[in-house]
Amino acid sequence: MKRHLALFTIALLLAPVAARAQGKLNVMTTTEDLASIAREIGGDHITVEGIAKGYQDPHFVEAKPSFILKLQKADVLVVVGRELEIGWLPPLIQQSRNSKIQPGAAGYIDASLQASILEVPTGQVTRAMGDVHPLGNPHYWMDPENGKRIGKEIADKLSELRPSDKAFFQQKLTDFSTRLDAAEKRWLAQLAPYKGTKVVTYHRSFPNFAERFGLDIVGYVEPKPGIPPSPQHTLDLINDMKRQNVKIVLVEPYFDLKTPNAIGRDTGAQVLVMPPSVGGVKEITDYFTLFDYDIKMLVEAIKKTGAK
């Protein structure tokens, strides 16, 4: 009898803990893109917040202590991976005092694990190539197919953390994938007439986007990743663009427009500030409107310039 009473007391004591453990999962993501996808998967069963803003260069986020506070309370941390966050995330995780989100822990989700990654360097890698990512181009979320894979990775991990919500997460994933498939069909159709259009981009942020939607990236404003434009490279690029009749220059919102505008003036190309992330401009509120916005702008520019 005494033993039963003890057990009952323990059960009573544990009850509030168990109830609390079943509250909403607190999910932090490094970017707003991942936050948007996590929101699609987790629905009202989780709370989501991103660290880097969509109009901010995700390579250069400041490791502010206020982020430590947020990470301290997180149950889950979703990262882009492929060393995109290497300059700022490790010290934040280390100081978070949160064992749940340390790399390797159950709450640490590397969204790139199932994604198709481009530009993985082969052969010797040196910094003579600029700030090259040895694990491949980390801007892989700019392809809706990868969006589905990111969603799957998040759904799988959330299901592991919350087996009781597994069906919910998988249902949300199916729903997200279905809507994304439909939207992708629409986006592909919008760009289909312009397949093979030659473009120049500032940084290597758009290889996955270009591959999916049939753009041909023929050059970069940056001479090498992470290296600011040089006069010689800009001249070479202008000549190259004239020769190939390139009429579109895509620039991420966080780069200076001086060089791209000069290139535009010289070649007659149109310079588009094209956000590679959710939140890049205020119209882009989620993962779907990201492609809506970018593709609409791109199609209009192609029509206007007659780019091929």
Binding site: Q56, A63, E83, I86, R127, Q170
Partner: protein, 444 residues
Amino acid sequence: MNVRRFVCATIVAAAFALAPSSAFAQDNPQALRQEIDQLRKDFEALKQQYGERLTALEKKLSAAEGTPPATPPAVEPPPVAEAPPAAAAPAEPAQPLPTYGSSVSNAKVFNPDMAVIGDFLGAAGKNPVNPTPALEMHESEVSFQAVVDPYARADFFLSFGQEGVNLEEGFITLTELPGGLLTKVGKFRSAFGKVNTLHNHILTWTDRPLVTQNLVGGEDGIDDAGISVARLIPNPWIFLEATGQVFRGDSGEDLAGNPVFQSTKRSELAYVTHLRGYHDLTENANLDLGFSYSYGHNGLSNGNVQDPGSLVTELYGIDATYRWKPLQRSLYRSFVGRGEYIWSRRDQPTGLQSGSGMYVSGDYQLGRRWFAGARFDRSAHAEDASLIDTGGSFIVTYWPSEFSQVRAQYRRTNYNTAPSIVSSANEILFQFQFSIGAHGAHPF
């Protein structure tokens, strides 16, 4: 093939299990057909991806055979690297595989992240009090950093300087302690103030401020073997962190060659406590405030025959940092304003010396690669608080890339070497700094 069939079966089973009963019950055959179609599509995609990869590999192989140099084809064994994914995860989309190299080099994955940072200094002009060489390879800092086990990580910073090798820092950080205690054990730079915690290559100047040189142990600072515990203090308003540290009791020396702390017996430990408050004023600006206190023995005899030991030095510090960096333009514009005020109470056989010092500095980023800064210095001497040195600097920094920088600093210092004797030094200092190896975190 069996594995694949099993996975397909699992997916189908999962689809059955997960499909909401209503929709599923209504048109069962249609759903099944869709499922099969989806599977077929997936399989086709997989087949195509594998085919593409195979051709790519063949191309690479033939290219490698055609051009014999550095990497012989044997180093990249495609079949070996190819084998595991097919067996382990056939349902996953194809992706380029990591190249592991030969089986021998697999141990390398556990090697720590390594980096070397070179710091080359040049000086022109006259300095009668604290002359530095015209040219010197001032420091080569080698770092090794890795995770130890699921509970800890370790960081080592070896500094190869003019006088030899010094373990600048070497410590383990326990990340999994209960109660949110972030604990460091080893040798490390103490949490006294701001500049004392920073390695040379993170400073925005080529030198350290006069107050550090005079009152806080010079370039080495309070850098000692000890234990540190830091805890966040929960509150609804700001980031608040309290740090407590215990050290053996030895530290760097000031300009006159006297250590701030020197332990003469085991019981003469040194202590550092630090309280840091941080708040985001806006998305673009923030304020960082710190209060520090340090207590230790200074190695000067207390004159007690019964219980020989040394006298005590106490340090009090306040530091403030204001940072501004517009998020969208963060590559091109930023400003950091920083100041520290330090008060030293040094007990000496001749009596208590109570002196203070401070610096104020500002650094503005002009463009992606250019920074301009200024610093004002003023500090008493620890041993004789009536002697006060002052100085000022202008600094220009250029960043060819994230991994190297060139800096020039004009520095004027008025050294108060003896009562009513001031000797001035006008100097131009140069710095080349460059780093190789693992990509370190950007300083904040």
